[in-house]
């Protein structure tokens, strides 16, 4: 029987619904009954009869790359657990979906929690983790309730707990609630938070989670969507799964499109099988009437902005425009940005780039954890400078200062937040310098001096 979707929320013909098969599906509820009717937990039964290493090999063969932002191969990550390990192994599902522009995991948690649980229990079995945590951001209170209920249902049916389905494998999953900090999405910050501490990311080396993670034990941290894919990899087989998408950019992924398009929303597509132009014009129904594309943030707010009229030179020598970029990991990187978390933010010609970067800088200044110097001091400084640019109280050389502050952060911090907060500023200034300087007042050059600067100047004059 064909799957029916809620009217107005039907998937586009260009979509390939794997993970989002049950999202907006008529008659489908988050209950385990709904999931079981749909063939749920069958892959768990299959997996429990497999060799653990075989499961890891399937995931490796699938080419699955992490859907949280970094795009690291999931199977390789699982293989990092030291073979000599004697400590308990943990799996953490990173459900701290906080990257601005990203809203896919939330739908999985709300509408199809058992898909996540099944994938996660398979993952636990594969790496021999008897304990797993689902770290759900504070802003998803409903999701936490739904997932906890799902865990209880799964336990009642014997998919969790002791001796799962007679396999001899014990596994428990728990929900852990965040407290409203973006940095908890950073895996080592998340681990610290889970341990009850401030979520200060750990230095790497030595604290790579696969060796020294939760409670200094090997820990695998995977995104919600990534863990869901595991179930489908078992179902299809790694090699078959790898036929989805394009080489090295396999499978499907959910694009979260927001901004100035006719039909923003989530679209699950085969990786690399649709172009940016198709996302905008075909999936999203084009730009708003009478508007022109100005810029795109292609992979969550931390990814570098792309300008509408840019030309991108690829490794094979081809030169392509923004609309020709296939939505995959490697090409997006070659274009100087990243596929990141799949959050595509479309901006049209009505948008002030100064305003946009100020908005982002406000976010990052608010979310910097404050542990290490460059990010702690730099993020707020960037916000303050861009505050002034937006309010017309800046001189053109403030734009250059802003850029150099970002340069002073990038690559010097404990965690990737340093890049997350500096890349937007760097890329926006690089690509929209004239517009931003145009929002400044040339007559203010040399006029804006802090009190401290005035004191220093007085000293120099004396």
């Amino acid at each position: 029987m064909a799957i029916q979707y809620i009217s107005g929320k039907e998937p586009h013909a260009r979509e390939k619904r794997l993970i989002f098969k049950n999202i907006d599906r008529v008659g489908f509820t988050p209950s385990i009954d709904s999931f079981l009717e749909d063939g749920g937990y069958e892959q768990l039964k299959v997996a429990l009869k497999m060799e653990k290493s075989a499961i890891i090999n399937e995931v490796k063969a699938s080419g699955l790359r992490g859907r949280g932002g970094a795009g690291f191969p999931t199977g390789v990550k699982w293989g990092f657990i030291p073979p000599t390990n004697t400590k308990p192994v943990y799996i953490i599902c990173n459900a701290d979906e906080s990257e601005p522009g990203t809203f896919k995991d939330r739908y999985i948690l709300h509408q199809d929690p058992h898909q996540l649980l099944e994938g996660m229990i398979i993952a636990c079995f594969a790496v021999n983790a008897k304990l797993g945590y689902i770290y759900i951001r504070e802003e998803f209170p409903q999701a936490a309730i739904i997932v906890e209920k799902a865990i209880a249902e799964a336990r009642a049916k014997g998919f969790l707990g002791k001796d799962i389905l007679g396999s001899g494998f014990d596994c428990e999953l728990y929900v852990h609630r965040g407290a409203g900090a973006y940095i908890c999405g950073e895996e080592t910050g998340l681990i610290e938070s889970l341990e009850g501490k401030r979520p200060y990311p750990r230095i790497k080396p030595p604290y790579f989670p696969a060796a020294l993670g939760l409670y200094m034990s090997p820990t695998i941290v995977n995104n919600v969507e990534s863990l869901c894919h595991v179930k489908h990899i078992i179902q299809m087989g790694g090699a078959e799964y790898a036929k989805l998408g394009t080489p090295n950019n396999t499978g499907t992924r959910i694009l979260c499109v927001s901004g100035d398009v006719q039909k923003p929303g989530y679209y699950e597509v085969e990786v690399g099988k649709v172009t940016m132009g198709e996302v905008i014009d075909v999936l999203c129904g084009g730009m708003k009437p009478g508007r022109k594309l100005k810029a795109i943030i292609p992979g969550g707010s931390s990814s570098k902005v792309l300008r509408a009229d840019e030309k991108f030179k690829l490794k094979d020598g081809r030169e392509i425009g923004i609309m020709d970029i296939p939505m995959d990991f490697d090409t997006m990187a070659a274009c100087g940005s990243m596929a990141g978390s799949g959050g595509v933010i479309i901006m049209d010609d009505s948008r002030s780039m100064t305003w946009v970067i100020n908005n982002l800088n406000n976010f990052y200044a608010h979310e910097s954890c404050g542990q290490c110097t460059p990010c702690r001091e730099g993020s707020l400084w960037m916000k303050k400078i861009s505050d002034r640019i937006v309010s017309g109280e800046a001189s053109p050389d403030d734009v250059d200062s802003l850029e150099s502050v970002a340069n002073q952060i990038e690559g010097k911090t404990i965690c990737a937040f340093g890049e997350a907060c500096s890349w937007p500023t760097q890329s926006f200034i690089k690509k929209f310098r004239d517009e931003m300087k145009g929002d400044c007042k040339p007559e203010l050059v040399g006029e804006i001096v802090s009190d401290e600067g005035k004191v220093a100047a007085a000293g120099l004059a004396a």
Binding site: R198, Y200, G370, E377, W381, S401, I448, E452, G453
Partner: protein, 577 residues
């Protein structure tokens, strides 16, 4: 003919686990596991840092120690690695700097501490640290020993381009009885937090808020009040944590530091006494990894104010018709000799102190010998030790007293007290102790025809004494002591004794001479040489050989709890040690 079977070779020592590291172009060898920052230090290329401290875990948060680093690229299969002009594999430099504090050296690693990248990074971090700093150096206690100032000179920019409002934070925060907090000066290095959590087991400090608004604070309902709280002031690289006792008392650049030993207990924590002129302003721990690591207790370090006391004895005094009269040293010494010479030994007692130096105790022994008395002892002080540094023995030199006087401290006190109460003692010399505070009764002391007190402070026992001799305090003397673990340690003179007070050892020597003994000892070095000749444990030692860190002279099974834990953390690689 088969070669004769070689005799099994003696097990060769394992090859030293050394790795080749290039620092600023020079190839050097370091033991595996050496932190990059320590390797650079050994290569005389000091890397600036704030949060790193060898005795604490390394969070890598200040980013000041970022340096350019490289490794030889892995050669393609079948390819030989490319060599440099030294025949070493060529280094592929990484585009991003790495922290030198928490990373360890590796074979073939290159470190550049002076490259453009490294210098640019330091400049950037320095600028970031200063933009929200109040720059109130003129009124900051840390000025002159502030890492922000120090590294500003070396790595800072000449002018500020910060045009924004600074972040406002709490100032003059009362976080404990001895430590005060200025949050605007704090650079969030977390050294204090780590000290309280890792060393003092009293994790009362933490950060609140986030980002640039991050604020150091005590946890609700808690205070920074443990007996090691002032160490946080020492390790604070800036002026965020200051000592209530020291703040606003003196500019640090006017202070002269003298190596000394804490007198508060038998641990003998190594310390520096900071003085300007003849006034002591503060005492800070001095690193000694066999005694106190980098730490000392608050009680010990603050116990110097009595040296500056207005109740110091400044002149020798002899009682005339019930009233003390100032006299000359010559007359005072002669008065003691007059009272003691000719008196039978068993009618004389000497109550000395285990707070005396070995050199002073040497003369106590000489004096007893020449006066023919065996009634010689020191006052024991047993209290409670803690699980850190503080020892139960509250005397700093019980081991010296035992070794030099040849008896267990306190073993003869009961006998002396008995003699005193029966009025059998005609002469009692109280050397460095206030007898009324040590269990002796006023009515017994009043029975002594000739009570002599050698002390530094005016007190009730001195008041009772016929002769009062003003000696010098620990900070005013040179000498040696043996701590509870059997370590011989040295202290130096930080300040001069007030008025006509003299070196205690010289007073004792003069007493020996006046009572018929021979002279010939004119310096502490001389006295120690005599001790070394007479005391087997000191054999082969001289005062100079004791050095700034002391030498072990006695076997004891005494363990130092704090140091044991540090050793464990070092073995686990958590700290450098």
């Amino acid at each position: 003919m088969p070669a004769p079977e070689a005799a099994p070779a003696p097990a060769a020592p394992p090859p030293a686990d050394l790795v080749n590291v290039q620092i600023d172009g020079v190839w050097l060898k370091f033991p595996k596991g050496t932190r990059m920052i320590e390797a650079c230090k050994q290569a005389k290329k000091e890397v600036p840092h704030y949060c790193y401290h060898p005795k604490l875990s390394s969070p890598g948060n200040c980013r000041m120690c970022l340096v350019e680093m490289g490794m030889p690229p892995r050669p393609a299969p079948g390819q030989e690695p490319e060599k440099d002009e030294h025949g070493m594999p060529k280094i592929g430099w990484m585009p991003r700097p790495v922290i030198a504090c928490a990373n360890t050296v590796a074979e073939g690693m290159g470190i550049r501490t002076e490259s453009t990248l490294t210098q640019e990074v330091r400049k950037g971090v320095m600028e970031f640290l200063l933009i929200n700093h109040p720059l109130d150096c003129p009124i900051c206690d840390q000025a002159g020993e502030c890492r922000l100032q120090e590294f500003s000179v070396e790595h800072g920019k000449g002018e500020s381009r910060f045009r924004e409002e600074k972040v406002k934070k709490p100032k003059n925060v009362d976080i404990g009885p001895r430590v005060r907090l200025d949050d605007e000066r704090c650079i969030m290095c977390s050294r204090c937090i780590r000290f309280t959590a890792e060393i003092a087991d009293a994790p009362v400090l933490g950060f609140t808020e986030r980002g640039s608004y991050t604020t150091l604070a005590v946890h609700p309902g808690k205070r920074l009040e443990h007996n090691y709280s002032l160490n946080t002031v020492d390790i604070c690289p800036v002026g965020a944590l200051t000592s209530n006792d020291f703040r606003f008392q003196q500019r640090v650049w006017f202070l002269t530091e003298t190596n000394s030993i804490c007198q508060g207990c038998g641990r003998g924590c190594n310390m520096e006494t900071h003085a300007r002129g003849d006034t002591i302003y503060r005492q800070t721990p001095r690193e000694n990894n066999d005694v106190n690591s980098n730490w000392m207790c608050d009680r010990g370090r603050l116990d110097f104010h009595f040296v500056n006391s207005e109740f110091r004895l400044t002149d020798p005094m002899v009682k005339n018709q019930g009233k003390h009269e100032v006299t000359s040293w010559k007359k005072a010494i002669q008065a003691v000799a007059n009272a003691a010479v000719g008196v039978k030994g068993e009618e004389i007692a000497i109550i000395a102190s285990a707070r005396m130096t070995n050199e002073e105790l040497f003369f106590v022994k000489q004096l007893a010998k020449i006066l023919g008395t065996e009634n010689v002892d020191v006052i024991p002080r047993l209290g409670e030790g803690d699980n850190y540094l503080s020892a139960a023995d509250k005397n700093p030199n019980s081991n010296g007293a035992k070794l030099i006087l040849g008896s267990e401290p306190g073993s003869k006190l009961a006998g002396i007290t008995e003699l005193m109460s029966r009025g059998r003692l005609r002469v009692v010399l109280a050397l460095g102790e206030n007898l009324l505070k040590c269990g002796f009764e006023r009515r017994d002391l009043e029975k002594i025809p000739s009570l002599v007190t050698l002390h530094i402070l005016a007190n009730a026992s001195a008041e009772l004494s016929q002769i009062v001799l003003p000696g010098n305090a620990y900070a005013e003397k040179r000498g040696s002591m043996i701590n509870v673990t059997g370590r011989l340690q040295r202290m130096d003179r930080a300040v001069n004794a007030p008025g006509n007070a003299r070196d205690t050892w010289e007073i004792l020597r003069d007493l020996v001479v006046a009572c018929g003994g021979s002279n010939g000892l004119h310096s502490i070095e001389d006295v120690f040489s005599r001790l070394a000749a007479e005391v087997p444990a000191f054999q082969g030692l001289s005062f100079a050989k004791i050095g700034d860190l002391g030498v072990p002279v006695l076997e004891t099974d005494e363990k130092i709890p704090l140091l044991e834990r540090e050793k464990e953390r070092k073995a686990k690689g958590i700290i450098v040690g």
